[in-house]
Protein backbone atom coordinates (compact mmCIF):
# COMPACT_ATOMS: atom_id res chain seq x y z
CA UNK A 1 0.00 0.00 0.00
CA UNK A 2 1.47 3.32 -1.07
CA UNK A 3 1.04 5.61 1.88
CA UNK A 4 3.20 8.60 1.19
CA UNK A 5 2.88 11.35 -1.38
CA UNK A 6 6.38 10.55 -2.58
CA UNK A 7 5.35 6.98 -3.40
CA UNK A 8 2.44 8.09 -5.57
CA UNK A 9 4.60 10.70 -7.25
CA UNK A 10 7.28 8.14 -7.96
CA UNK A 11 4.73 5.69 -9.33
CA UNK A 12 3.04 8.19 -11.60
CA UNK A 13 6.18 10.05 -12.73
CA UNK A 14 4.14 13.21 -12.56
CA UNK A 15 7.00 15.01 -10.91
CA UNK A 16 9.05 14.65 -14.09
CA UNK A 17 6.32 16.39 -16.06
CA UNK A 18 5.96 19.15 -13.47
CA UNK A 19 9.72 19.72 -13.46
CA UNK A 20 9.73 19.79 -17.22
CA UNK A 21 6.94 22.35 -17.12
CA UNK A 22 8.95 24.44 -14.68
CA UNK A 23 12.11 24.19 -16.74
CA UNK A 24 10.76 24.57 -20.25
CA UNK A 25 8.05 27.16 -19.77
CA UNK A 26 9.30 30.56 -18.77
CA UNK A 27 7.16 32.81 -16.57
CA UNK A 28 3.45 31.89 -16.21
CA UNK A 29 3.79 31.64 -12.42
CA UNK A 30 0.03 31.64 -11.62
CA UNK A 31 -0.66 28.98 -14.24
CA UNK A 32 2.09 26.70 -12.98
CA UNK A 33 0.86 27.14 -9.43
CA UNK A 34 -2.65 26.08 -10.40
CA UNK A 35 -1.37 23.05 -12.28
CA UNK A 36 0.64 22.06 -9.23
CA UNK A 37 -2.48 22.46 -7.05
CA UNK A 38 -4.50 20.24 -9.37
CA UNK A 39 -1.75 17.64 -9.42
CA UNK A 40 -1.59 17.74 -5.61
CA UNK A 41 -5.35 17.22 -5.32
CA UNK A 42 -5.25 14.24 -7.65
CA UNK A 43 -2.36 12.67 -5.75
CA UNK A 44 -4.09 13.14 -2.39
CA UNK A 45 -7.31 11.73 -3.85
CA UNK A 46 -5.42 8.66 -4.90
CA UNK A 47 -4.16 8.18 -1.35
CA UNK A 48 -7.64 8.78 0.08
CA UNK A 49 -9.06 6.10 -2.15
CA UNK A 50 -6.70 3.58 -0.61
CA UNK A 51 -8.26 4.25 2.77
CA UNK A 52 -11.74 3.92 1.26
CA UNK A 53 -12.40 7.58 1.85
CA UNK A 54 -14.74 9.42 -0.46
CA UNK A 55 -12.65 10.76 -3.34
CA UNK A 56 -14.97 12.02 -6.01
CA UNK A 57 -13.33 12.78 -9.31
CA UNK A 58 -13.10 16.56 -9.37
CA UNK A 59 -14.40 18.39 -12.40
CA UNK A 60 -11.37 19.52 -14.35
CA UNK A 61 -12.84 21.44 -17.25
CA UNK A 62 -10.81 24.59 -17.68
CA UNK A 63 -10.73 27.87 -19.47
CA UNK A 64 -7.47 29.44 -20.56
CA UNK A 65 -7.64 33.15 -21.17
CA UNK A 66 -4.79 35.38 -22.19
CA UNK A 67 -3.34 37.51 -24.91
CA UNK A 68 -2.00 35.97 -28.11
CA UNK A 69 1.22 34.03 -27.76
CA UNK A 70 1.06 33.51 -23.99
CA UNK A 71 1.37 29.73 -24.23
CA UNK A 72 -2.23 28.53 -23.95
CA UNK A 73 -1.91 25.73 -26.49
CA UNK A 74 1.48 24.64 -25.16
CA UNK A 75 0.15 24.37 -21.63
CA UNK A 76 -2.94 22.49 -22.84
CA UNK A 77 -0.66 19.95 -24.46
CA UNK A 78 1.21 19.51 -21.18
CA UNK A 79 -2.05 19.32 -19.29
CA UNK A 80 -3.08 16.25 -21.27
CA UNK A 81 0.20 14.60 -20.33
CA UNK A 82 -0.06 15.48 -16.64
CA UNK A 83 -3.67 14.31 -16.34
CA UNK A 84 -2.73 11.07 -18.05
CA UNK A 85 0.15 10.43 -15.66
CA UNK A 86 -2.21 11.03 -12.75
CA UNK A 87 -4.75 8.57 -14.20
CA UNK A 88 -7.40 11.23 -14.56
CA UNK A 89 -7.78 10.71 -18.30
CA UNK A 90 -7.27 7.26 -19.77
CA UNK A 91 -5.34 7.97 -22.98
CA UNK A 92 -3.83 11.45 -22.63
CA UNK A 93 -4.10 12.73 -26.18
CA UNK A 94 -5.05 16.28 -27.11
CA UNK A 95 -7.65 17.07 -29.76
CA UNK A 96 -7.40 20.73 -30.75
CA UNK A 97 -10.42 22.16 -32.57
CA UNK A 98 -11.95 25.49 -33.52
CA UNK A 99 -15.48 26.55 -34.41
CA UNK A 100 -15.24 25.04 -37.89
CA UNK A 101 -14.73 21.54 -36.51
CA UNK A 102 -17.78 21.72 -34.26
CA UNK A 103 -20.40 23.79 -36.04
CA UNK A 104 -22.10 22.54 -39.19
CA UNK A 105 -23.21 24.43 -42.27
CA UNK A 106 -26.86 23.46 -42.46
CA UNK A 107 -29.64 22.25 -40.20
CA UNK A 108 -28.88 18.83 -38.76
CA UNK A 109 -25.20 18.99 -39.55
CA UNK A 110 -23.97 20.38 -36.25
CA UNK A 111 -24.95 17.62 -33.83
CA UNK A 112 -23.22 14.73 -35.63
CA UNK A 113 -20.18 16.90 -36.25
CA UNK A 114 -19.84 17.96 -32.63
CA UNK A 115 -20.48 14.42 -31.41
CA UNK A 116 -17.82 13.03 -33.70
CA UNK A 117 -15.24 15.45 -32.34
CA UNK A 118 -16.28 14.64 -28.78
CA UNK A 119 -15.92 10.93 -29.48
CA UNK A 120 -12.44 11.47 -30.84
CA UNK A 121 -11.47 13.44 -27.74
CA UNK A 122 -12.76 10.86 -25.25
CA UNK A 123 -10.06 9.51 -23.00
CA UNK A 124 -8.10 12.72 -23.50
CA UNK A 125 -8.37 16.48 -23.61
CA UNK A 126 -10.54 18.51 -25.98
CA UNK A 127 -8.97 21.90 -26.60
CA UNK A 128 -11.33 24.45 -28.15
CA UNK A 129 -9.33 27.39 -29.41
CA UNK A 130 -11.03 30.78 -29.73
CA UNK A 131 -14.12 29.34 -28.09
CA UNK A 132 -16.05 32.62 -28.19
CA UNK A 133 -16.65 32.14 -31.93
CA UNK A 134 -19.04 29.33 -30.98
CA UNK A 135 -21.56 31.88 -29.85
CA UNK A 136 -22.68 34.54 -32.30
CA UNK A 137 -25.37 36.67 -30.68
CA UNK A 138 -25.83 38.77 -33.82
CA UNK A 139 -27.26 35.79 -35.70
CA UNK A 140 -30.07 34.10 -33.83
CA UNK A 141 -30.17 31.18 -36.26
CA UNK A 142 -26.50 30.43 -35.78
CA UNK A 143 -25.79 26.74 -35.18
CA UNK A 144 -23.09 27.52 -32.61
CA UNK A 145 -25.62 27.43 -29.80
CA UNK A 146 -26.47 23.84 -30.69
CA UNK A 147 -22.81 22.85 -30.45
CA UNK A 148 -22.56 24.54 -27.04
CA UNK A 149 -25.59 22.62 -25.77
CA UNK A 150 -24.16 19.25 -26.82
CA UNK A 151 -20.83 20.24 -25.32
CA UNK A 152 -22.50 21.13 -22.03
CA UNK A 153 -24.33 17.84 -21.89
CA UNK A 154 -21.18 15.81 -22.39
CA UNK A 155 -19.16 17.98 -20.00
CA UNK A 156 -21.74 17.26 -17.32
CA UNK A 157 -22.58 13.60 -17.97
CA UNK A 158 -19.29 12.15 -19.13
CA UNK A 159 -16.98 13.98 -16.81
CA UNK A 160 -14.62 11.00 -16.39
CA UNK A 161 -14.35 10.49 -20.13
CA UNK A 162 -12.87 13.79 -21.21
CA UNK A 163 -11.59 17.16 -20.08
CA UNK A 164 -12.65 20.21 -22.03
CA UNK A 165 -10.37 23.24 -22.20
CA UNK A 166 -11.77 26.44 -23.70
CA UNK A 167 -9.21 29.01 -24.75
CA UNK A 168 -9.31 32.53 -26.07
CA UNK A 169 -8.46 36.15 -25.55
CA UNK A 170 -9.44 37.50 -22.15
CA UNK A 171 -12.03 40.17 -22.88
CA UNK A 172 -13.89 38.21 -25.54
CA UNK A 173 -14.00 35.07 -23.39
CA UNK A 174 -15.54 37.12 -20.62
CA UNK A 175 -18.36 38.25 -22.91
CA UNK A 176 -18.74 34.66 -24.08
CA UNK A 177 -19.09 33.31 -20.55
CA UNK A 178 -21.45 36.10 -19.56
CA UNK A 179 -23.83 35.13 -22.37
CA UNK A 180 -23.46 31.39 -21.56
CA UNK A 181 -23.68 31.19 -17.77
CA UNK A 182 -24.27 27.42 -17.91
CA UNK A 183 -20.89 26.95 -19.50
CA UNK A 184 -19.07 29.22 -17.10
CA UNK A 185 -20.45 27.44 -14.04
CA UNK A 186 -19.42 24.04 -15.34
CA UNK A 187 -15.82 25.12 -15.65
CA UNK A 188 -14.04 24.83 -12.36
CA UNK A 189 -10.72 26.31 -13.34
CA UNK A 190 -10.44 29.69 -14.96
CA UNK A 191 -6.77 30.27 -15.67
CA UNK A 192 -5.59 33.69 -16.80
CA UNK A 193 -2.32 33.68 -18.69
CA UNK A 194 -0.34 36.86 -17.94
CA UNK A 195 1.70 38.70 -20.55
CA UNK A 196 5.42 38.01 -20.45
CA UNK A 197 7.82 40.55 -18.99
CA UNK A 198 10.58 41.79 -21.32
CA UNK A 199 13.25 39.75 -19.52
CA UNK A 200 11.09 36.63 -19.83
CA UNK A 201 10.66 37.29 -23.54
CA UNK A 202 14.41 37.56 -23.88
CA UNK A 203 14.96 34.17 -22.25
CA UNK A 204 12.20 32.72 -24.43
CA UNK A 205 14.11 34.05 -27.45
CA UNK A 206 17.34 32.48 -26.16
CA UNK A 207 15.64 29.16 -25.73
CA UNK A 208 13.99 29.22 -29.16
CA UNK A 209 17.33 30.02 -30.78
CA UNK A 210 19.07 27.26 -28.87
CA UNK A 211 16.41 24.81 -30.07
CA UNK A 212 17.08 25.88 -33.66
CA UNK A 213 20.87 25.64 -33.11
CA UNK A 214 21.54 29.36 -33.32
CA UNK A 215 22.90 31.81 -30.79
CA UNK A 216 23.25 35.57 -30.26
CA UNK A 217 26.66 37.07 -29.85
CA UNK A 218 26.97 39.49 -26.92
CA UNK A 219 26.14 42.57 -28.93
CA UNK A 220 23.22 40.89 -30.64
CA UNK A 221 21.60 39.95 -27.36
CA UNK A 222 21.58 43.61 -26.30
CA UNK A 223 20.23 44.57 -29.68
CA UNK A 224 17.47 41.99 -29.29
CA UNK A 225 16.55 43.35 -25.85
CA UNK A 226 16.41 46.77 -27.47
CA UNK A 227 14.27 45.35 -30.26
CA UNK A 228 11.84 43.79 -27.81
CA UNK A 229 11.46 47.02 -25.86
CA UNK A 230 10.42 48.78 -29.06
CA UNK A 231 8.29 45.96 -30.40
CA UNK A 232 6.23 45.64 -27.20
CA UNK A 233 5.18 49.25 -27.50
CA UNK A 234 3.88 48.66 -31.02
CA UNK A 235 0.38 47.38 -31.82
CA UNK A 236 -0.33 43.69 -32.48
CA UNK A 237 2.36 42.44 -30.19
CA UNK A 238 1.78 38.72 -29.67
CA UNK A 239 4.23 37.78 -26.93
CA UNK A 240 6.14 34.56 -27.61
CA UNK A 241 4.66 34.30 -31.10
CA UNK A 242 6.09 37.70 -32.05
CA UNK A 243 9.44 36.61 -30.65
CA UNK A 244 9.36 33.54 -32.86
CA UNK A 245 8.46 35.58 -35.92
CA UNK A 246 11.21 38.11 -35.17
CA UNK A 247 13.74 35.30 -34.84
CA UNK A 248 12.62 33.81 -38.14
CA UNK A 249 13.18 37.14 -39.85
CA UNK A 250 16.60 37.45 -38.24
CA UNK A 251 17.51 34.04 -39.58
CA UNK A 252 16.51 35.26 -43.05
CA UNK A 253 18.77 38.29 -42.71
CA UNK A 254 21.63 36.20 -41.39
CA UNK A 255 21.24 33.84 -44.34
CA UNK A 256 21.34 36.64 -46.92
CA UNK A 257 24.34 38.20 -45.15
CA UNK A 258 26.24 34.92 -45.39
CA UNK A 259 24.99 34.37 -48.93
CA UNK A 260 26.52 37.67 -50.01
CA UNK A 261 30.00 36.62 -48.83
CA UNK A 262 30.65 34.37 -51.81
CA UNK A 263 34.37 33.70 -51.33
CA UNK A 264 34.31 33.33 -47.57
CA UNK A 265 34.68 29.83 -46.09
CA UNK A 266 31.90 29.52 -43.50
CA UNK A 267 32.71 27.99 -40.15
CA UNK A 268 30.29 26.39 -37.75
CA UNK A 269 30.39 29.63 -35.74
CA UNK A 270 29.45 31.71 -38.76
CA UNK A 271 26.48 29.51 -39.46
CA UNK A 272 25.12 29.56 -35.94
CA UNK A 273 25.74 33.14 -34.86
CA UNK A 274 23.27 35.96 -35.24
CA UNK A 275 25.02 39.33 -35.01
CA UNK A 276 23.66 42.73 -34.04
CA UNK A 277 23.42 43.86 -37.66
CA UNK A 278 20.86 41.11 -38.38
CA UNK A 279 18.66 42.59 -35.70
CA UNK A 280 19.31 46.29 -36.22
CA UNK A 281 18.14 45.96 -39.84
CA UNK A 282 14.60 45.42 -38.57
CA UNK A 283 11.74 47.71 -39.55
CA UNK A 284 11.14 48.36 -35.86
CA UNK A 285 14.37 50.33 -35.64
CA UNK A 286 13.76 52.11 -38.93
CA UNK A 287 10.48 53.51 -37.61
CA UNK A 288 12.20 54.81 -34.52
CA UNK A 289 14.86 56.57 -36.57
CA UNK A 290 12.33 58.24 -38.86
Amino acid sequence: MAASVADVLAASQVEAVLDELERELIGLAPVKQRIRDIAALLVIDKLRREFDLQAQMPSLHMSFTGNPGTGKTTVAMRMAQILHRLDYVRKGHLVAVTRDDLVGQYIGHTAPKTKEVLKKAMGGVLFIDEAYYLYRPENERDYGQEAIEILLQVMENQRDDLVVILAGYGDRMETFFRSNPGLSSRIAHHLAFPDYRPDELLSIGDRMLADMHYRFDAEARDAFADYLARRIAQPHFANARSVRNALDRMRLRQASRLFAQRGHTLTRDDLTTIVAADIRASRVFADAAA
Binding site: P112, E116, K119, K120, G123
Partner: protein, 144 residues
Protein backbone atom coordinates in the same frame (compact mmCIF):
# COMPACT_ATOMS: atom_id res chain seq x y z
CA UNK B 1 -35.65 -31.51 -33.47
CA UNK B 2 -34.83 -28.12 -31.98
CA UNK B 3 -33.00 -25.89 -34.45
CA UNK B 4 -32.41 -23.11 -31.96
CA UNK B 5 -31.69 -24.86 -28.65
CA UNK B 6 -30.86 -22.00 -26.30
CA UNK B 7 -33.35 -19.78 -28.13
CA UNK B 8 -30.62 -17.35 -29.09
CA UNK B 9 -28.94 -16.66 -32.36
CA UNK B 10 -25.24 -17.36 -32.62
CA UNK B 11 -23.45 -15.13 -35.09
CA UNK B 12 -20.01 -13.56 -35.03
CA UNK B 13 -17.57 -13.69 -32.15
CA UNK B 14 -18.42 -14.57 -28.54
CA UNK B 15 -21.94 -15.68 -29.47
CA UNK B 16 -21.73 -18.95 -27.51
CA UNK B 17 -20.71 -17.05 -24.38
CA UNK B 18 -23.12 -15.41 -21.98
CA UNK B 19 -24.00 -11.80 -22.93
CA UNK B 20 -20.94 -9.54 -22.64
CA UNK B 21 -21.18 -6.89 -19.95
CA UNK B 22 -20.46 -3.27 -20.87
CA UNK B 23 -17.11 -3.64 -19.17
CA UNK B 24 -16.21 -6.65 -21.31
CA UNK B 25 -17.43 -4.83 -24.42
CA UNK B 26 -15.20 -1.88 -23.47
CA UNK B 27 -12.23 -4.20 -23.21
CA UNK B 28 -12.94 -5.60 -26.70
CA UNK B 29 -13.33 -2.11 -28.15
CA UNK B 30 -10.06 -1.02 -26.58
CA UNK B 31 -8.35 -4.05 -28.06
CA UNK B 32 -9.63 -3.12 -31.52
CA UNK B 33 -8.67 0.53 -31.13
CA UNK B 34 -5.19 -0.59 -30.14
CA UNK B 35 -4.99 -2.40 -33.48
CA UNK B 36 -6.14 0.71 -35.29
CA UNK B 37 -9.59 -0.59 -36.26
CA UNK B 38 -12.56 1.70 -36.90
CA UNK B 39 -15.66 0.63 -34.97
CA UNK B 40 -19.21 0.91 -36.16
CA UNK B 41 -22.62 0.03 -34.75
CA UNK B 42 -25.24 -1.77 -36.84
CA UNK B 43 -28.75 -3.06 -36.16
CA UNK B 44 -31.36 -5.19 -37.86
CA UNK B 45 -34.61 -7.04 -37.24
CA UNK B 46 -33.85 -9.66 -39.87
CA UNK B 47 -30.97 -11.70 -38.51
CA UNK B 48 -31.00 -14.33 -41.27
CA UNK B 49 -27.50 -15.79 -41.52
CA UNK B 50 -27.26 -14.68 -45.13
CA UNK B 51 -28.28 -11.11 -44.30
CA UNK B 52 -24.78 -9.61 -44.31
CA UNK B 53 -25.75 -6.00 -44.58
CA UNK B 54 -27.37 -4.65 -41.45
CA UNK B 55 -28.48 -1.04 -41.05
CA UNK B 56 -25.78 1.39 -39.95
CA UNK B 57 -26.36 3.32 -36.77
CA UNK B 58 -24.35 6.45 -37.54
CA UNK B 59 -21.06 6.55 -39.37
CA UNK B 60 -18.10 4.24 -38.75
CA UNK B 61 -15.90 5.89 -36.13
CA UNK B 62 -12.38 6.56 -37.35
CA UNK B 63 -9.54 8.18 -35.36
CA UNK B 64 -10.87 7.30 -31.94
CA UNK B 65 -8.54 6.79 -29.00
CA UNK B 66 -10.87 5.59 -26.30
CA UNK B 67 -13.74 3.12 -26.01
CA UNK B 68 -16.07 5.61 -24.31
CA UNK B 69 -17.06 7.13 -27.65
CA UNK B 70 -18.06 3.79 -29.18
CA UNK B 71 -19.88 2.73 -26.03
CA UNK B 72 -21.86 5.99 -26.00
CA UNK B 73 -22.93 5.29 -29.58
CA UNK B 74 -23.91 1.72 -28.67
CA UNK B 75 -26.02 2.96 -25.76
CA UNK B 76 -27.72 5.39 -28.12
CA UNK B 77 -28.53 2.51 -30.47
CA UNK B 78 -29.89 0.35 -27.65
CA UNK B 79 -32.14 3.20 -26.53
CA UNK B 80 -33.45 3.72 -30.07
CA UNK B 81 -33.85 0.03 -30.98
CA UNK B 82 -34.41 -1.90 -27.75
CA UNK B 83 -35.93 -4.92 -29.55
CA UNK B 84 -33.49 -5.23 -32.46
CA UNK B 85 -30.30 -7.14 -32.97
CA UNK B 86 -27.29 -4.85 -32.55
CA UNK B 87 -23.72 -5.69 -33.43
CA UNK B 88 -20.36 -3.97 -33.20
CA UNK B 89 -18.00 -4.27 -36.12
CA UNK B 90 -14.33 -3.35 -36.37
CA UNK B 91 -13.04 -2.35 -39.78
CA UNK B 92 -9.37 -2.90 -40.50
CA UNK B 93 -8.33 -0.35 -43.13
CA UNK B 94 -4.83 -1.73 -43.61
CA UNK B 95 -4.04 -1.65 -47.28
CA UNK B 96 -4.70 -5.06 -48.75
CA UNK B 97 -6.88 -6.11 -45.80
CA UNK B 98 -9.68 -3.54 -45.92
CA UNK B 99 -12.34 -5.68 -44.37
CA UNK B 100 -14.14 -6.42 -41.13
CA UNK B 101 -11.77 -7.81 -38.52
CA UNK B 102 -14.14 -8.22 -35.58
CA UNK B 103 -17.90 -8.52 -35.31
CA UNK B 104 -20.09 -9.51 -32.40
CA UNK B 105 -23.68 -9.15 -31.24
CA UNK B 106 -24.15 -6.77 -28.32
CA UNK B 107 -27.92 -6.43 -28.25
CA UNK B 108 -30.80 -8.78 -29.01
CA UNK B 109 -34.58 -8.90 -28.56
CA UNK B 110 -36.09 -10.50 -25.46
CA UNK B 111 -37.65 -13.44 -27.37
CA UNK B 112 -35.83 -15.08 -30.23
CA UNK B 113 -38.08 -17.59 -31.98
CA UNK B 114 -35.30 -18.65 -34.33
CA UNK B 115 -35.57 -20.21 -37.79
CA UNK B 116 -37.60 -22.96 -39.36
CA UNK B 117 -36.41 -25.34 -42.02
CA UNK B 118 -38.34 -24.95 -45.26
CA UNK B 119 -38.51 -27.93 -47.62
CA UNK B 120 -39.37 -27.64 -51.27
CA UNK B 121 -39.91 -30.67 -53.48
CA UNK B 122 -38.40 -30.31 -56.91
CA UNK B 123 -38.05 -32.65 -59.87
CA UNK B 124 -39.41 -35.92 -58.50
CA UNK B 125 -37.84 -36.98 -55.20
CA UNK B 126 -35.29 -34.13 -54.95
CA UNK B 127 -35.59 -31.72 -52.05
CA UNK B 128 -34.40 -28.15 -51.68
CA UNK B 129 -33.86 -26.81 -48.20
CA UNK B 130 -33.70 -23.31 -46.83
CA UNK B 131 -34.17 -21.58 -43.49
CA UNK B 132 -36.61 -18.84 -42.71
CA UNK B 133 -36.93 -16.76 -39.56
CA UNK B 134 -40.26 -17.15 -37.77
CA UNK B 135 -40.26 -13.46 -36.99
CA UNK B 136 -39.47 -12.51 -40.58
CA UNK B 137 -43.06 -13.24 -41.64
CA UNK B 138 -44.25 -10.09 -39.96
CA UNK B 139 -43.64 -6.71 -41.52
CA UNK B 140 -40.58 -4.72 -40.63
CA UNK B 141 -40.62 -3.04 -37.21
CA UNK B 142 -43.23 -5.53 -35.91
CA UNK B 143 -40.93 -8.53 -35.89
CA UNK B 144 -39.71 -8.57 -32.31
Amino acid sequence: MMTNPPARITQGQFSFLPELTDQEITAQIDYGLGKGYAWSVEYTDDPHPRNTYWEMFGMPMFDLHDAAGVLAELKGCRATFPQHYIRLMAFDNTRGVESIAMSFIVGRPRDEPGFRLVRQEIGGRSMRYTVQGYAADRPESQRY
